[in-house]
């Protein structure tokens, strides 16, 4: 029954891309609904997959739902090889969910509708592919395929500086990718027989020479770190997030950033345990810098979307800190939790920022005040997600940060202790934002006509809210799902 489930996740959006391209240009509703259907189906499949994985494979660390390896390009031994485990299944579900929500959130796009939804579905293909690919060449292809629709989505439907942001994003990530390409080629030619199969390389790569391992690790790290983004590679992120249309920001923050950390967990860490141990402390320090720096910069932002964007830098810093503590299952689980919870929370925050921007046409925090009087439901949701973002117990952000700190503390006492400050700083900027926007005097003259969040928009964010709370209150099932995989990962790294 689950024979080609991963391929279906990849190719249904691709089919949607082709179908949408063939639809008449001016029938907006048909295009919108067709796009929704083609992203709804993969979402359901990804949920069923998660359900099945949880009840069938929770205790096992093996790769499941394997497809292939099928011969693809025999001259370079590239294969079509897919599989999923406890790390990728939750991320696939996150991708399915956020893609569908983003497509629903894009119904108000009025300009060049057909192209928009076509590119969005192509983007989903790339993201799904990255999380299932087990062949390095295939992985790289999906990794790059995603850049093109993203470039168009930012460049056509973005804000005032869209062209700059789009090309900056494209060049920056391509710059990172080329290092990955060199590492792939080096790994290919040093493996005997030459292979691009990641599972085989995880077995053989640790026997490479020390300096070769360090080099490959560093090259892969640059590629992944740009995606995460790790300070100091983060400068593309604020531009891209701020200029991108709402739904694209959601995907950027919710899924794209996770591909960096996913790449580390899937590839760099198990393939180069020696190099991981070698670089563990610098990585944790980079994480710490990102946490503190991101939070401080967020504090200084006047633009709401920029604030959320920089908070992403800070939150992904927790993932890096956890990844630095490679030997602790708790830390790695914390990293996974943080990835998922950041996807949910920041995705929702971007959606809510978009909701307000659609009505007020400004995102300047200082322009608002006392909105709680006028739009209470919106305020409630915004406060909920701000609290989740700052790590209030009972929500997923708390669970993940707590796990990260516990896990990291055993290896890096001082760094972890300083990193806790990040939580305080996050509370600082989030609460200040809430206070300035939703409490205080309401400017009746200016915002008297502001309308409440509508049903479609509530439906968009409510699944995110529900999941945030469920994971916050009862994280057990999720951690059961990935424990075996992560334990195996730690064992691999202890080699």
């Amino acid at each position: 029954m689950y024979d080609y489930v991963l391929s279906s996740l990849i190719f249904i959006p691709l089919a949607g891309f082709l179908v949408v391209l063939l639809l008449p240009k001016n029938n907006f509703n048909l295009i919108r609904w067709m796009a929704s259907i083609f992203s709804f189906v993969p979402m359901i499949i990804s949920f069923v997959l998660t359900y099945d994985y949880f009840f069938t494979y929770s205790g096992s660390a093996d790769m499941v739902y394997i497809e292939g390896p099928f011969k693809w390009i025999s001259v370079i031994n590239a294969q079509y090889f897919l599989g999923a485990d406890g790390i990728s299944v939750p991320l696939l579900a996150l991708t399915g969910l956020l893609s569908f929500i983003s497509i629903i959130a894009s119904f108000n796009i009025a300009k060049r509708v057909k192209e928009y939804f076509a590119f969005f579905l192509l983007l989903e293909t790339g993201m799904m592919g990255v999380f299932c690919a087990l062949d390095f060449f295939l992985f790289y292809v999906f990794w790059e395929v995603m850049l093109v629709p993203m470039y168009f989505l930012i460049g056509i439907w973005g804000g005032p500086r869209k062209e700059y942001a789009a090309i900056k994003f494209f060049l920056y990530t391509l710059f990172g990718s080329i290092f990955m390409l060199v590492a792939i080629l080096v790994l290919y030619f040093t493996s005997e027989p030459h292979t691009l199969n990641m599972l085989t390389l995880i077995q053989t790569a640790p026997s490479l020479g020390h300096s070769l391992q360090l080099m490959c690790f560093a090259f892969l790290f640059v590629a992944f770190a740009i995606k995460v983004p790790v300070w100091p590679f983060h400068t593309w992120l604020p531009d891209a997030h701020v200029e991108a249309p709402t739904a694209v920001s959601v995907i950027l923050a919710g899924v794209l950033l996770k591909m960096g950390t996913y790449g580390m967990l899937r590839i760099s860490w198990p393939m180069f345990p020696e190099a991981t141990r070698f670089f563990a402390t610098p990585i944790a320090i980079l994480g710490l810098i990102a946490i503190i720096y991101g939070a401080l910069v967020s504090m200084a932002q006047k633009d709401l979307k920029k604030l959320v964007a920089y908070s992403s830098v800070s939150h992904m810093g927790y993932c890096m800190l956890a990844l630095g503590a490679w030997g602790s299952v708790t830390a790695l689980a914390g990293c996974m939790f943080q990835m998922l919870s950041h996807g949910l929370i920041t995705g929702a925050l971007f959606l809510l920022v978009g909701v307000l921007y659609d009505r007020a046409h400004t995102r300047e925090i200082a322009a608002f005040g006392g909105l709680g009087v006028k739009i209470p439901v919106y305020t409630g949701l915004m406060v909920l997600f701000s609290m989740a973002s700052l790590g209030l117990p009972g929500m997923s952000g708390f669970v993940s940060e707590f796990m990260v700190f516990i896990g990291a503390f055993s290896s890096f006492k001082i760094i972890a202790a300083i990193a806790v400050l990040g939580v305080v700083l996050t509370a600082g900027y989030m609460l200040r934002m809430v206070q300035r926007m939703f409490l205080g005097e309401f400017d009746m003259a200016r915002w008297g006509g502001l309308t409440e969040i509508n049903l479609r928009e509530i439906l968009m964010v409510s699944p995110l809210a529900i999941l945030t709370i469920i994971i916050g209150v009862y994280p057990g099932p999720l951690s059961d799902m990935m424990r075996a995989t992560l334990e195996n990962l730690v064992n691999l790294m202890a080699r």
Binding site: F137, E144, F170, I178, V182
Partner: protein, 487 residues
């Protein structure tokens, strides 16, 4: 009894006769048939392709002419580029050169015959003749807009530089002959090895020969620093001829390089042979081409000049495969050229059709084209992404192959440089896409390509995407070509 195996030269003979038929039928119809001559030419090229399939494999004229897989592979590229160049010429032959259609198409075919002859030559004299037969018609074609100063300048420039470089090449070849007492490349390979074994070193004459041959072929390939003519000629020549120059003529130069260096001088492509190591010379030229081509292309506002510099850079990537000088290297260089055929001919076809219908070659005129002519713009976007090497386009598979060859051969620095410049190149390729797609509002220009131009564009797009996703069969074919050199 000398062996005249005319069977394997039938495609060339046919195409040569067909060129005469094309010229005569244009005269016979009193130059009144605007479309027919073009279709006649395309049909001739297609038939040659079929003949090539049936009459391949074998040796003739005392080893001077070989129809091996390498020759066949490149002949496919030559015929493809001639076909696509002719297909995108219909606009020009309807308007600007309606009095010389026959000569125009005929010269393209003559040049193609030269390329085909060249790719089959396993001997220096016939190789040189093939190269001359390739370039002399191109001198005329570059200057075909007789009333256009830029075009005449292009023709003259190309002629002077071309003649000069041919002389240098010939001098280099004669030195090689003096050292080895043979013009047959395989015998030369053996004689050089014997010479080297006997004396332990080969004098400066050999280095001079190599440098001169590299310079001579480098002019044809527009390798930096022998590229000076390229931007002006590319800009001035009729656009389909520019396309033909940038793909067909370069592929011809590549075959010459492969035959002489990767085959004949193969044993010298190694660090231990310094200062006789030609690999490092070409590697340096390749890196110069990648750096200069990509950086100069950034500043161009004319699409033909932009594509000229881009093709200088692209040849730099092919050279990464050449310096590898092994099975993977030959495979990747051939495959790169094959993909480049579709992407570059397609991009030039877009520029041709756009130029015909709007009279402008400025990149800025493409603004808003995605709205007024969506398919046309999408085609251009595909070509640009392929040239930039973004998957799943063919350009990615091609770049992957040459870089893999480079890494395998130990040229890691060259590969990293190539990748870095590839990032730079994305900027100007994406700039075209940006202009077409991101501009607010709709362009007033509605492009409506003629049927053959549509065919060319479709061929380009399909080739780039299909061979990008399933490069397997072509790669296998390209790998067989490496077998010709004994890899």
């Amino acid at each position: 009894m000398p062996d005249y195996n005319l069977r394997i030269i039938i495609p060339e003979i046919f195409l040569f006769c067909w060129a005469i038929v094309v010229i005569l039928s244009d005269l016979g119809s009193k130059r009144k048939s605007p479309q027919t001559i073009g279709y006649l030419t395309m049909a001739g090229i297609a038939v040659t392709g079929v003949l090539l399939y049936f009459f391949r494999g074998g040796i003739s004229f005392n080893n001077m002419f070989q129809s091996d897989t390498l020759a066949v592979f490149f002949k496919v590229i030559f015929l493809g580029s001639a076909f696509m160049a002719v297909g995108s010429s219909f606009g020009i032959t309807n308007e600007r050169i309606k009095n010389h259609r026959g000569e125009y198409y005929g010269l393209i075919l003559f040049s193609t015959v030269g390329m085909m002859f060249l790719s089959s030559s396993s001997e220096l004299i016939s190789l040189y003749i093939g190269l001359e037969l390739t370039t002399i018609p191109l001198f005329v074609l570059a200057a075909f807009y007789k009333d256009d100063k830029l075009s005449v300048e292009a023709g003259l420039k190309y002629f002077v530089v071309g003649a000069f470089s041919s002389a240098i090449l010939l001098y280099g070849l004669s030195l090689l002959y003096g050292l080895t007492a043979t013009t047959d490349i395989l015998t030369m390979k053996i004689n050089l090895a014997l010479l080297f074994l006997k004396f332990g070193k080969i004098g400066p004459g050999f280095i001079l020969a190599m440098v001169m041959i590299i310079a001579g072929i480098g002019f044809k390939l527009a390798l930096v620093p022998f590229h000076m003519w390229a931007p002006d000629v590319y800009q001035g020549a009729p656009t389909p001829i520019t396309a033909f120059l940038s793909v067909g003529s370069k592929a011809a130069g590549l075959v010459a390089l492969l035959r002489i260096f990767v085959n004949g001088l193969w044993s010298f492509a190694s660090d231990v042979m310094q200062p006789l190591d030609w690999g490092i010379i070409i590697a340096v030229l390749a890196s110069a081409a990648m750096i200069l081509g990509n950086i100069a292309a950034l500043r161009q506002t004319n699409i033909k000049r932009m594509l000229a510099f881009s093709s200088i850079a692209q040849i730099g990537y092919v050279m990464v495969g050449v310096v590898a000088a092994d099975e993977m290297g030959v495979t990747s260089a051939g495959f790169y050229m094959f993909i480049y055929l579709f992407a570059n001919m397609g991009a030039f076809a877009v520029a041709t059709v756009f130029g015909d219908q709007t009279g402008s070659d400025n990149i800025i005129s493409y603004a808003g084209l995605s709205q007024s002519s969506p398919l046309f713009a999408a085609g251009m976007a595909v070509f640009m992404l392929s040239l930039a090497g973004i998957p799943p386009m063919g350009g990615f598979a091609a770049k992957y192959m040459v870089f893999a060859a480079g890494i395998q051969a130990g040229y890691t620095w060259l590969v990293i440089l190539g990748l870095l410049t590839a990032v730079v190149s994305l900027y100007y390729y994406a700039n075209i896409i940006k202009t077409m797609y991101f501009a607010p509002g709709e362009s007033t220009i509605r492009i409506n390509p003629s049927f053959p131009a549509k065919l060319v564009l479709l061929l380009g797009v399909v080739g780039v995407i299909i061979f990008g996703i399933f490069p397997g069969p072509v790669l296998e074919f390209a790998r067989e070509t490496a077998g010709v050199f004994g890899f």
